[in-house]
């Protein structure tokens, strides 16, 4: 997981904040509410920048360290924004033994970014993921909702072209 602070500034809207406050009000008193609230917050904002974490900490009356601790523990929470096209390469075992590591390297090289990062124009972000369960199609990568399977390194260029 990358913790490098993103260069893209936070630009939350009042409407997003209102939705977040409603979520917090609804779940605040549930046992173990922090995780579901963070998951909803990430749905609303797309990621969890420090500004959003602060809002949650204040509204739940818990220390910001606790919120930050949970956010950075789980791979699914991102403190960086995601690209317009989220590329995710499966590095689960079934995909790995069929060469997904090479595909991931090729993408890093092509996009000039590492795992968990975003291209400066905000177009692509790249992540490695652990098994999306489409092992029958290994090796697999996803771009937003699209799934590409039975890949070779040579397919990478063609796939990127589609989104350019």
């Amino acid at each position: 997981m990358a913790f490098k602070k993103s260069a893209v500034p936070f630009s939350g809207t009042a409407e997003q904040e209102e939705r977040l406050r409603a979520v917090i009000a609804e779940h605040k008193d549930d046992p173990g509410a922090l995780m579901p609230i963070l998951q909803k917050a990430q749905e609303i904002y797309g990621y969890l920048p420090i500004e959003v974490q602060t809002m949650i900490a204040d509204a739940m009356e818990i220390p910001l360290e606790k919120v930050y601790g949970v956010v950075t523990f789980y791979a699914q929470f991102s403190i960086n924004p995601k690209g317009q096209y989220k590329i995710s390469v499966c590095l689960g075992t079934a995909c790995y033994v069929k060469g997904s590591g090479d595909i991931f390297n090729k993408l890093q090289e092509k996009l000039g970014i590492g795992s968990g990062e975003i291209t400066p124009d905000g177009k692509f972000s790249l992540d490695a993921c652990r098994c999306i369960g489409a092992c029958g199609l290994a090796p697999v990568l996803t771009v937003n909702e699209d799934v590409y399977g039975r890949l070779t390194v040579d397919d990478v260029d063609k796939i990127l072209e589609k989104y350019n």
Binding site: M35, F73, V97, G133, A134, G136, L137
Partner: protein
């Protein structure tokens, strides 16, 4: 749906729904065709939702509305052949279905009753006859208990589950069995935890029942983090009610009225089906207050994981449900005494729960009749890697790996040689060819240095480097170690560093000894299961493939040709025609030569990308 208040009402729904489901179960022809399309993750990824849309469109177009039902099911198991579609009552099996096939299939098969043979799974077509799916080698060796409804019913309709004896077990338990009776049945059945460790389920329930407390919890571990394993996901996607019903039974047995299912957020389809199933069960009165009018109440909540492998460990999972960093804690106290929110808790895996209702209905003797002496029942495996039939299989315990890999899995593609099967994921080990005939059960797998694990079974061929595989798993563990205890946090990192040295050809034989010592140290001292089992991939490969390690260390050679630092690309002058294609393709200009005479690779410049070899038309470039 109205609330079901007693057995009579349940049976009334059952007999009504059975008419619909029996078209599939018994092949009853009542003039309606059921088209089952797999809506599991594998087939959805290869486009099965679009197939459904096209089917609906085409059925309207050809005026077959009301004569054909389209049912989106869970996984059929043969993921390699997706998208999969089965037409009942005949039970014909269409594989790798494409949108372009649909109009012909609808017209010929659904309208005129003639199956389109060319689109059927080749193994089911034998001249003029079409074989049943159960006669194909993939299915013939299987025995489906946990997966009995997967790919047969619509997981989004509680009535179809009820038609398959759904909620009968819960009724039986609540109306005619004591808490101890239920626990007794489970103990007698010999059911052991399917999450990997194999602890007897009945004993777990017994401990939790014995703990005195007003509030207890029942949890389900659906945080299937083992990369390459998707058994639990398929059960949740294909038959979510079987887990819900079993959890309610567990609640009754231990005296809990609240349950939680902790499921991976990476499984959106499973989450959606669970949400639907829980809502339907609440509406039908199978969850909530006063179930079947017996005064027993049970509620179920869904909690999503957020991508942390360690949360599959029971104490870490509970810490995560409580809303914290998912770090494990020391045991004892065990969860049965002090678990979720510090209350007595049982945690079982999805597949374990999927067996419970059948055991209650058919009796412990039936269940215990399958399997080996100490491992009863069946086990679901997710077959993946270098194998023809990737997918999901359920076999009786005691089946040999050879049967699973060669008969069911169809062997290794491209005529390659089998090298190892990996079970147990990052906690397990690699099983070499000489152990292929060992019957699979918990104890046998441990004795050969692997473990059952949750059921991921990845097949590797001669092109896979075992040192690289060990390194892959260690990289995983380093990444997923929560950092709470030193042996795991620092120890796995050191192991990873030594493995990297080996794959780069920089290691000495002392490093190999150090690596082995470190393995045992971490095994003995780590806090939780993740750390204690993290060295297994290294230990098992050292045990069976030590010569490969030695080749890396002493000869600076990777026998499988995987480890890049140890590779050298060479042009065979006898085969090279001097076409210059490789020189043009080389990204770093490492290849030079005169046209029509053999070219040469400058090994100092070469970055070993392999572009030259994959482009050479004469097979003149090889790696060694």
């Amino acid at each position: 749906m109205d609330k079901i208040r007693n057995l009579d009402e349940l049976n009334a729904i059952k007999s009504k729904a059975a008419e619909v489901v029996n078209v599939r179960v018994e092949g009853k022809d009542n003039g309606v065709k059921d088209v089952l399309v797999c809506g599991g993750t594998g087939c959805t990824s290869s486009g099965s939702m679009k197939i459904i849309e096209k089917l609906e469109e085409e059925i309207k177009l050809q005026g077959l509305e009301g004569k054909v039902n389209i049912i989106k099911t869970g996984c059929f198991g043969l993921c390699a052949l997706g998208p999969i579609m089965i037409v009942y009552p005949e039970g014909t099996f269409y594989s790798k279905t494409e949108l372009a096939h649909i109009p012909e299939i609808v017209e010929s098969h659904l309208k005129n009753g003639i199956p389109v043979k060319k689109y059927l799974y080749a193994e089911t077509v034998d001249g003029d006859t079409i074989k049943s799916l159960n006669d194909t080698s993939f299915y013939a060796h299987q025995h489906r208990v946990a997966l009995r409804n997967c790919g047969l019913i619509s997981p989004e309709h509680i009535e179809e589950y009820i038609a398959r004896d759904g909620y009968q077990a819960l009724n039986k338990v609540l109306t005619s069995m004591s808490q101890d009776d239920v626990i007794d049945v489970l103990l007698k059945s010999g059911l052991r935890g399917r999450g990997g460790a194999g602890f007897p389920t009945g004993r777990k329930w017994q401990f939790a029942k014995a703990s005195q407390n007003e509030q207890k919890y029942v949890c389900c571990n659906a945080d299937e983090g083992d990369p390459g394993a998707f058994m639990d996901r398929s059960v949740l996607e294909g038959d979510p009610h079987s887990v819900i019903e079993a959890m309610a039974i567990a609640g009754y047995a231990i005296g809990a009225n609240q349950g939680y299912i902790y499921v991976r957020a990476e499984y959106p389809i499973a989450v959606e089906r669970l949400e639907i199933a829980i809502k339907q069960a609440e509406e039908a009165g199978m969850l909530g207050d006063n179930i079947f009018g017996t005064g027993f109440s049970f509620r179920l909540g869904l909690r999503l994981g957020a991508g942390a492998f360690v949360c599959g460990e029971e104490t870490a999972l509970m810490t995560s449900i409580e809303g914290n960093r998912g770090e494990p804690r020391c045991r004892p106290p065990f969860p049965a005494v002090k678990g979720l929110f510090a209350k007595p808790t049982i945690l079982n895996n999805v597949e374990t729960y999927a067996n419970v209702c059948q055991i209650i209905l058919k009796g412990p003797e039936w269940f215990a009749s399958m399997g080996t002496e100490k491992s009863k029942g069946t086990k679901v495996f997710a077959l993946g890697g270098k194998i023809h039939n990737t997918g999901l299989v359920e076999v009786p315990m005691g089946t040999t790996l050879r049967t699973v890999i060669e008969d069911i899995g169809g062997g290794i593609p491209n005529g390659k040689k089998f090298k190892a099967a990996q079970t147990g994921g990052p906690s397990g080990g690699c099983i070499p060819p000489q152990h292929l005939d060992i019957p699979i059960d918990y104890d046998n797998l441990i004795s050969i240095g692997s473990m059952m694990g949750s059921g991921g079974l990845i097949v590797m061929d001669e092109d896979n480097c075992m040192v690289d595989i060990a390194k892959f798993f260690l990289e995983f563990t380093v990444d997923e170690s929560c950092g709470k205890c030193t042996p795991c946090r620092i120890g796995t990192k050191r192991m990873y560093e030594i493995l990297t040295k080996i794959t780069e050809g920089k290691a000495t034989m002392e490093d190999l000894d150090k690596l082995e010592k470190l393995c045992y140290y971490i095994k003995d001292n780590a806090l939780c299961g993740l750390g204690q089992t993290a060295p297994n991939p290294v230990l098992s490969t050292l045990r069976y493939f030590r010569d490969e390690y030695v080749a890396h260390v002493k000869d600076k050679r990777c026998p499988a040709g995987v480890c890049k630092s140890l590779l050298a690309y060479k042009i065979d002058p006898a085969l090279c025609k001097g076409c210059s294609l490789c020189a043009k393709k080389c990204p770093v200009g490492a290849i030079s030569g005169e046209i029509k005479s053999p070219f040469k690779i400058d090994t100092n410049k070469c970055i070993k990308c392999g572009v030259c070899a994959s482009n050479c038309k004469f097979g003149a470039i090889s790696k060694s």
